[in-house]
């Protein structure tokens, strides 16, 4: 067999036994075969293999397979949905998408700036006003901050109000 690689007609031998050669190719191969015993033997050997394959026993299609196919074809699409969802071919891409969405949301969440804490000012001001009225907070002990300046301004405004 390996020695046949030397022969330029080698690849055409199978095509010859399959009846798949053009007229010009066929006559060229046949001319070669007339002179080459080795290729004639090769043709016979390939022809034998072809006949073995052609004679391979045929298997009848299982009857339940026919009814399964017909039943699947008659089943409306909405009834096939659970099967579709449970099928690996759906499950795997869906799982991959879900994992991707999770990673993306975590990434976006990590990049997002933390929102400033909201401290309601009104209760603080009213508490301060109450404590000030009760002289619980000495005027000079307030720490300088945005809130303290607002509170001071608020307290000044109250002081300026006419009685």
């Amino acid at each position: 067999m390996n020695q046949h690689n030397e022969h330029e007609e080698n690849i055409l031998l199978s095509a010859l036994i399959d009846g798949e050669l053009a007229v010009s190719e066929k006559s060229r191969v046949e001319s070669h075969l007339a002179l080459c015993k080795e290729c004639r033997e090769e043709v016979e050997s390939l022809r034998f293999m072809k006949s073995v394959l052609a004679a391979a026993p045929r298997r009848a299609m299982p009857p339940e397979l026919i009814s399964d196919i017909e039943r699947a074809a008659e089943t409306p699409a909405w009834r096939r949905l659970p099967q579709l969802i449970l099928a690996p071919r759906f499950f795997m891409p869906a799982g991959a998408l879900a994992a991707l969405a999770l990673v993306a949301s975590l990434w976006v969440g990590a990049r997002r700036e933390k929102p400033e804490d909201f401290i309601p000012l009104e209760p603080l001001m009213s508490a301060h006003a109450r404590y000030s009225a009760e002289t619980l907070v000495p005027q000079g002990s307030l720490v300088s901050s945005t809130y303290s300046s607002q509170l001071t301004a608020s307290s000044d405004a109250q002081d300026q109000e006419p009685d």
Binding site: M1, A15, D18, E20, S45, K50, L53, A54, I66, A72
Partner: protein, 185 residues
């Protein structure tokens, strides 16, 4: 313009199912995967039935779908057990017709045929999928190179080359198996 022939899907199953099943069996090497392949191919064919041109052979269209499903399976489970290229031949995967006693006057002849078929399937399993597909379609299903090129989506020249090389490889494997089988007897 040719009028589309009225043909039901059930008729197409009855008419071409056997061919599709045998092709699937020779590709996958066992009944279980062959069933899955045929069912998958028909389901896909049914879903895209509107795209089918009734003026072209349905069996070629179906075999092409089946072949694509098989290749997808091979790619997905390249090292798995379902469609492994190195899977052993299904010598124990017999139908009830083969197991139950029949009216064969010479039961040993049946055994030999079964053994031969097992060797043949092993030989088919031992060659790469493109060779196996081309040779199966040509020798087992009797399709022309032109039809095979459409199913395998490759030029006729490639089909010719795959059939020749595939047939030679299968022959080599088959002869080897036969020799080893004879030695065991």
């Amino acid at each position: 313009m040719a009028r589309k022939p009225e043909i039901s899907f059930s008729e197409l199953i009855a008419k071409h199912g056997e061919k599709a099943y045998n092709f699937a069996y020779r590709l996958s090497g066992n009944e279980h995967d062959a069933r899955d392949l045929v069912q998958g191919a028909y389901a896909k064919a049914y879903a895209h039935f509107k795209d089918y041109d009734p003026n072209r052979p349905f069996d070629s269209w179906l075999c092409r779908i089946l072949h694509n499903i098989y290749l997808d399976g091979v790619r997905l489970y390249a090292h798995g057990h379902v469609v492994s290229l190195d899977a052993p031949a299904p010598v124990d995967d017999s139908s009830w017709d083969e197991i139950l006693p029949g009216d064969d006057p010479d039961p040993t002849a049946g055994l030999t045929r079964k053994e031969e078929d097992a060797f043949l399937q092993k030989a088919l399993n031992s060659v790469p999928v493109h060779y196996r597909t081309a040779v199966t379609l040509c020798d087992v299903e009797g399709l022309s190179y032109e039809e095979i090129s459409k199913i395998m989506a490759c030029p006729v020249g490639t089909v010719r080359s795959r059939i020749h090389q595939g047939r030679a490889l299968i022959r080599e494997a088959y002869e080897k198996l036969e020799r080893s089988g004879r030695k065991l007897q």
